[in-house]
């Protein structure tokens, strides 16, 4: 059974609310946890491109409504990041326990880079080097550290919602 969209919306909306209202209080040397990104990347890795894209789109939209940035920027960024992360399914390293963390690191840097590019195109003045070194990189490292935990939770959800004929 696929997770229906109507069940995904409240889940991703809750993740967005937690990220906006709770996680901002917990900062580690400038790094803040991008929980939505980890959730979307995990799901893309577990379920592949199509479900990843839908989760990326809905998750990004939820973030957009809570963000001061132009509506659609987070949606676009997270949708593309989800697709890129789903390509991880095609590699031979995907069975490695460290792979999700590595993928989270790469996806986070890709996501922030793409977001900055879109913001620059929208006319925002950004200090690229500072943002990449002081915000994006520490956040990516923190994301990589937390990824095993998030991935484990999503793996459970994945196994519980897997179609009966695909279960081992």
């Amino acid at each position: 059974m696929l997770i229906k969209t109507y069940a995904v919306i409240p889940l991703l909306a809750s993740v967005a609310l937690v990220q906006s209202s709770l996680l901002f209080r917990f900062s580690l040397w400038g790094a803040r946890l991008h929980l939505m990104l980890l959730v979307v990347v995990s799901w893309s890795l577990l379920r592949g491109a199509r479900e990843g894209i839908v989760w990326g789109f809905l998750g990004g939209l939820a973030l957009d409504f809570l963000s001061g940035l132009p509506l659609g920027v987070c949606t676009l960024t997270l949708t593309i990041t989800a697709y890129m992360a789903s390509l991880g399914q095609l590699t031979v390293y995907r069975t490695s326990p460290l792979f999700p963390a590595g993928l989270a690191l790469a996806s986070s840097i890709f996501h922030d880079g793409l977001l900055m590019l879109l913001l620059s195109l929208a006319g925002y003045a950004l200090a690229w080097a500072d943002l990449l070194l002081r915000v994006a990189l520490p956040s990516a490292l923190l994301g990589a550290l937390m990824m095993p935990l998030v991935y484990r939770v999503l793996l459970r959800l994945h196994l519980r919602t897997l179609p009966e004929d695909l279960k081992l």
Binding site: A13, A16, L17, V18, Q19, S20, S21, L22, F24, R25, S27, A31, R32, H34, M36, A49, R50, I53, V54, G56, F57, G60, L61, L63, D64, F65, L66, S67, G68, L69, P70, L71, G72, V73, C74, T75, L76, T79, I80, Y83, L90, D112, L115, M116, L119, Y124, A125, L126, A127, D130, L131, R134, V135, A136, S139
Partner: protein
């Protein structure tokens, strides 16, 4: 994955990317405001509850450490200690709120011409790259786009978006923010801009002006976006090069942006819309 499947997935991606771009375009054309209002109305109360819960979690963490020490000393008093500490947490919350409100009241009394509206911070921008926060007051409470946001310590930012009961605030530390300012002592003017690393930087200060560490920086009111004489911060260092037209100064913000819980909206101030005024006959 077969070639056909891959093509199908790419088409799927293209569909969602197109949807995202359409959303972006509609938002730029300001067509999505009703949807944003609706979402803000639903999420603002939840964010308020979550924000309050986090504060309690932070205090409860300290509370549990205290309980651990007490347990080792006296098991019998465990229940009593629990109750007392919970009470203490509640009282500390009340005390912090009291201090905040008293500071706001003092600020209001010191600035009788200001019409201020207290607001609670209920969220931050979920992306790590932008300096926005969300407050629990909106259009219905009289908040409008452009209104300055303050604390008793100084300027916080300005309202960029309003929903019926919540608003988004662009912090002065965001790189896209700029505030016309002056140095209190020398009256040198410049523009204070947000910076990822240094917090705030004051640019475009004439080379002939004297600026030194410790000088207070206030809003100048030029441009009509902010009222005059609001504290922005304090000069920490000055960069002056003979080969450059202007000097610049690093500013330490007077407000601790990491600990903002309560702010004030200056509802009596309406920024001048220079574009509209230029277009008027």
């Amino acid at each position: 994955m077969t070639r056909m499947q891959r093509g199908g997935t790419l088409l799927f991606l293209l569909l969602f990317v197109s949807l995202a771009v359409v959303t972006l375009v509609l938002d730029r054309a300001n067509r999505l405001q009703p949807a944003k209002d609706l979402v803000a109305q639903v999420t603002a109360p939840i964010q308020g509850v979550l924000a309050a819960a986090t504060r309690r979690v932070t205090d409860l963490r300290e509370f549990f450490i205290d309980v651990e020490e007490c347990r080792a000393k006296n098991e019998d008093l465990q229940l009593l200690v629990d109750q007392l500490i919970i009470e203490n947490v509640r009282l500390r919350e009340a005390e912090i709120e009291n201090v905040n409100l008293r500071a706001q009241l003092n600020f209001k009394q010191a600035n009788p011409s200001f019409k201020l509206l207290s607001a609670q911070v209920i969220g931050r921008d979920p992306s790590n790259l932008a300096g926005y926060l969300i407050i629990d007051r909106g259009r219905e409470e009289g908040v409008a786009v452009g209104m300055p946001i303050l604390t008793d310590r100084g300027l916080v930012g300005r309202v960029t978006e309003t929903a019926p009961h919540s608003s988004k605030i662009l912090l002065i530390t965001d790189p896209s923010s700029s505030v016309n300012a002056l140095i209190q002592e020398s009256r040198a003017t410049g523009v204070v801009q947000g910076s990822v690393v240094q917090g705030l930087v004051m640019r475009y200060i004439q080379q002939t002006e004297e600026v030194k560490p410790g000088d207070l920086v206030l809003t100048s009111g030029l441009g009509g976006n902010f009222p005059t004489r609001l504290i922005v911060g304090q000069v920490t260092s000055v960069v002056k090069k003979d080969v450059e037209l202007f000097q610049q100064a690093q500013i330490r913000p007077s407000v601790d942006f990491g600990r903002l819980e309560m702010v004030m909206v200056l509802t009596s101030f309406h920024p001048i819309d220079s574009e509209a005024e230029q277009q008027a006959p």
